[in-house]
Amino acid sequence: MTSLARKTTASGKLRRTKGVNTALLFIFLIYSFLPLFYLIVSSTKSNAELFSTFGLWFTSSFHLFSNVQEVFTHDGGIYLTWLWNTAYYTVLSAVGATFLATIAGYSFAKFRFRGRTLLFALVLGSIMIPQTALAIPLYLLLSKMALVNTPLAFILPSLVFPFGVYLMRVYAEQSIPDELLDAARVDGAGEFRIFFKVALRILAPGFVTVLLFAFVFTWNNYFLPLIVLSDPKLYTITVGLALWNSQASAGGGAQALFPLIITGSLLGIVPIIAAFLFLQRFWQGGLTFGSLK
């Protein structure tokens, strides 16, 4: 009887703790969603309604489709070009960067070779370099190579993802048993074959993690495309939206560009959030970095 009573108090206490914790986290969840909710609400409003109605709730009229249409047709449909550019730059960069990072990270994790510690320290140290320290000389170098203002000016530097190498090294160290590689070697498999047929399969969750990071990082990158691309036809979503924003602000704040920026922002984050939600089930496995749980 006593043990039963104790059990009920314990579970009651646990439920109370759960309630308090859930409530606390809920506050932060509202904070996290608030700007996105505002974005969705605002994208259904006309320019006049943005000023005249309460920002955090819908109005009776629904202007989403006309706003979307306006975004897609403004300035000869330049937004669609930006969307396409971003997708194309991002997919190429993210896949390439992830592949380079995976094979390098695997090598750092599973081989011992002369210069390994030094090279890895160099790669890791590069994370600390300020963007500008790189971006300005990169711009000058790329202009010497006649690459400035071409898609390659953004894609080629985006293939270097040192943080990805770090993640893949940790992941490979924890997830690939040396014994497995040795067994494959005993069976007579070459190192390339082992990497592609054995290691890459085990590394798949880590690969997806790094891919997601690289994807988000490139899609959201602003500084590099801002510097190396000057033709609006080559812009990415982020640079394009910032351009509209400065045009709207320069126009005294009363221009009809506001619905464009708001709806354009919403449309610009839909693909990245979709990719994120789609990949997150792989990614959750990946982020625990091969823990055996």
Binding site: L29, F54, L100, A104, P130, L138, V216, F276
Partner: protein, 317 residues
């Protein structure tokens, strides 16, 4: 195939050693293979990271003159940078920013990660996903949305304040701008840092909770005294990233610059200043020097932190 079967006695020796030696320590079977594997990355790394740096270093010791082209000026640009009030104003601003914003953000991230990990919560995956979602939003878009939310003309906070007859807060004023930007950064990165800590917590053995409970420790005591020290390398990583990110802040203030140019000005952050110098004033040489001094400031702060915590997890990994 090029692979060679190691002699039997070699293998037995290796597996003996493997149990005692740390993981990852292994015999080189083919001296060339690891280099072939890291070559593509290192090549890119060299061309698009090391080369620009070397080039910038070269730039920073020259000066472009209207007459006579480039002239070697030695450390002149650096001397100028060290005495440049605009630059140090930006650094000072970012230090103030970091002293408040980084502990708040990482403190919340750690608390949320511990709660999520403890399992004393409902809807765990909703929170995990919801908190991380802002990180997927481009910082430009985040700054734009918050800019509208803050806005004095149709921002909902202003609307609410007017409705309730409160004084309208001017989030974009000189006094509040830094806090307003800090809020955007906190919104963007709390979930990201939480995920890094949460992943580290998830990789701890489950027996920790049971062992702690047997010893009579409460849930929060296990969390604070056992788990937090065990994930210190993950926490360390988030602090270093935050220091670097803070000193390099650019996107958010740059977007705010378009909205409130009188408040932000062109040297609000050191990075914004370097950008203005290079792309508005065409002073590439001086801008390169500024970037290097900023890099040095980042290294000094990161290193000080490493020394203070008295360990070099980053290096030993």
């Amino acid at each position: 195939m090029t692979s060679r079967v190691p002699p039997a006695e070699d293998r037995s020796k290796r597996s003996e050693g493997a149990s005692a030696a740390p993981r990852g320590r292994r015999r080189v079977l083919h001296a060339g293979i690891p280099y072939v594997f890291i070559l593509p990355f290192m090549l890119w790394f060299l061309v698009f990271l090391v080369l620009p740096l070397v080039y910038a270093l070269g730039l920073s010791v020259f000066e472009t003159r209207l007459v006579g082209g480039n002239a070697f000026v030695g450390l002149d640009n650096y001397t100028r940078a060290f005495g440049d009030a605009n630059f140090w104003e930006g650094v000072r601003r970012m230090v103030v920013f970091g002293i408040f914003q980084v502990p708040i953000m990482l403190g919340m991230a750690l608390a949320f990660a511990l709660v999520l990990d403890s399992g004393t919560i409902w809807l765990r995956s909703l929170f995990r996903l919801g908190f991380y979602l802002p990180y997927a939003v481009p910082s430009v878009v985040a700054a734009l949305i918050w800019g509208y939310l803050y806005g004095p003309s149709f921002g909902p906070f202003t609307q609410l304040a007017e409705l309730l007859n409160f004084p309208t807060p001017n989030f974009l004023s000189d006094r509040l701008m830094l806090a307003s930007i800090a809020n955007i950064v906190t919104w963007e990165f709390t979930g990201y840092n939480m995920i890094i800590m949460y992943a580290a917590l998830q990789s701890l053995p489950a027996e920790l909770d049971d062992a702690g409970a047997v010893d009579g420790a409460k849930g929060w005591q296990i969390a604070l005294y056992i788990k937090v020290p065990m994930i210190r390398s993950a926490i360390f990583l988030t602090v270093i990233f935050s220091i670097i990110g803070t000193l390099q802040l650019f996107n958010e203030p740059q977007v705010m610059y378009a909205i409130a140019p009188q408040v932000i000005r062109d040297h609000y952050t050191p990075n914004l200043y370097a950008y203005t110098l290079a792309f508005t004033n065409q002073q590439y040489n001086y801008s390169a020097a500024i970037s290097f001094v900023l890099g040095a400031v980042v290294v000094v702060f990161s290193y000080t932190f490493m020394l203070l915590t008295n360990r070099g997890e980053l290096r030993s990994r």
